[in-house]
């Protein structure tokens, strides 16, 4: 290891991460609650109804942030994979494996809200719309990473294998996305697109923006919580983790 990477290893030190993330956590949680609260109230109660779809369009205030997040989390998995493989940073392994289930849930939420939105719009719970289909394939990609991580017994090998799979997946996602979109235009099933409005008025997309940022904060909170737990588990032999756990138990009782 050369000297120039020491900062990265400091960043990767579990104890350091645990302390810093503990300080960020409450801020992020407040930001998430505030932004999501404002965004939901604004989007559901104050934003104008769509001239074509009426009030049913309001589900995009959940659907779009979830879909955004599902896609970004997959990219994050691949980035964490590269960091873990190249710089052997254990914390990146932890981040990868802890973020994957959150991504899968976001995918699921996006699909569910898409289906609910589809009923009044297309008259069917499921339509093979390009976006929904891509999202479904993304969900399968998440399942693959989670299943691979659970199947390999050795913790480090599991993390490395998931990293390779995430990188392969992220190279493939644009190809999958374009091919699905192309397939969809060839078959001309959907006339509506859930989010592709020619021009969404400001009072419609501003709450959406607030919600997207809120969802990202929410993701950060959940990820940090999960990572902190995993770091404690992994470091259970070290002195600092033991005192931390003892303190946590004391606070409980």
């Amino acid at each position: 290891m050369t000297m120039s990477w020491t900062w990265l290893h400091k960043l990767g030190s579990p104890k350091w991460f645990y302390e810093i993330s503990g300080r960020w956590l409450s801020w992020l949680a407040w930001a998430a609650a505030l932004l999501i609260g404002i965004g939901i109230a604004w989007g559901l109660a104050f934003a104008p109804a769509d001239y074509q779809q009426g009030n049913s369009f309001r589900i995009i205030y959940i659907h779009v942030p979830a879909a955004f997040l599902a896609q970004s989390i997959y990219v994050m998995l691949a980035v964490a994979g590269v960091v873990g493989l190249v710089w052997k940073m254990k914390l990146a392994d932890v981040a990868l494996q802890q973020a994957a289930p959150i991504g899968a849930w976001m995918c699921f939420v996006a699909l569910l809200t898409g289906a609910i939105w589809g009923k009044p719009t297309w008259g069917a719970w499921w339509v093979w719309d390009a976006r929904l289909t891509s999202m479904l394939i993304l969900l399968f990609l998440y399942f693959g990473i989670i299943a691979l991580g659970q199947a390999i017994g050795n913790r480090d090998s599991a993390a490395k294998a998931c990293a390779v799979l995430a990188i392969v997946g992220v190279v493939n996602i644009p190809i999958i996305k374009y091919s699905v979109e192309w397939w969809n235009t060839l078959h001309q099933t959907a006339t509506f697109k859930l989010t592709e409005k020619p021009a969404m008025p400001v009072e419609m997309w501003l709450p959406l923006l607030v919600l997207v940022i809120g969802f990202y904060c929410f993701f950060a909170v959940v990820l940090l919580l999960r990572m902190r737990l995993e770091v404690l588990k992994r470091e259970s032999r070290s002195a600092w983790a033991r005192t931390e756990v003892a303190a946590l138990v004391e606070r409980r009782s």
């Binding site: 493989l85 394939i137 399968f140 990609l141 399942f143 693959g144 299943a147 691979l148 199947a151 390999i152 050795n154 090998s157 490395k160 294998a161 390779v164 799979l165 990188i167 392969v168 997946g169 190279v171 493939n172 190809i175 999958i176 374009y178 091919s179 699905v180 192309w182 397939w183 060839l186």
Partner: protein, 223 residues
Amino acid sequence: MSNVFLLLAMHEARLLCRRPAELANPLVFFAIVIALFPLAVGPETQLLQGISPGLLWVAALLAVLLSLDGLFRGDFEDGSLEQWIVSGYPLPLLVLAKVLAHWLFSGLALVLLAPLLGLMLGLPASALPVLVLSLMLGTPVLSLLGAVGAALTVGLKRGGLLLALLILPLYVPVLILGSGALQAALQGLPATGHLLWLASLAALAVTLAPFAIAAGLTIGVGE
């Protein structure tokens, strides 16, 4: 270096020739799956012809996937992978030779069998060249991507179902382009665009997949 590539391809070919039954299994699977569909949806030629592009491609995709389970497991268990790694030759090159040999024996046979099954599904003879060409360009991609999954699951005793779970979503573009080409040919439209895209996917897979396969194998061996 190219010497060892050829030697390994020949070595693998020799091994494959000594287990002909294993080579035949995916082909028989391919034929059986195709035969199941007329039984399930009825024998009307019109209907069968309409769904034949998707049918042939899904069956081919599954057959390739089936043939890849355990592609590297034998090498892992008998210590050959260790010998590859200590040999100092670039591992991506070696795995490319292995996958190529495997494709020449199983993928190519599939390509040659497909027109026969296509005719049985009522495909017009004019669509057959497109079928063969699309499979010829598509099956190497399927083999290479599947080999990534086989490499990642190499240390697992039973990786078959997991392999499918990992790899099938990645097969989507090839499936869309391949069956799209055949559909275009059925409607009398040119399929060149589809085929060119398939060719670029093949080029991409040949360039990138060996690195992912090598990384997967190194992880499996280093466990």
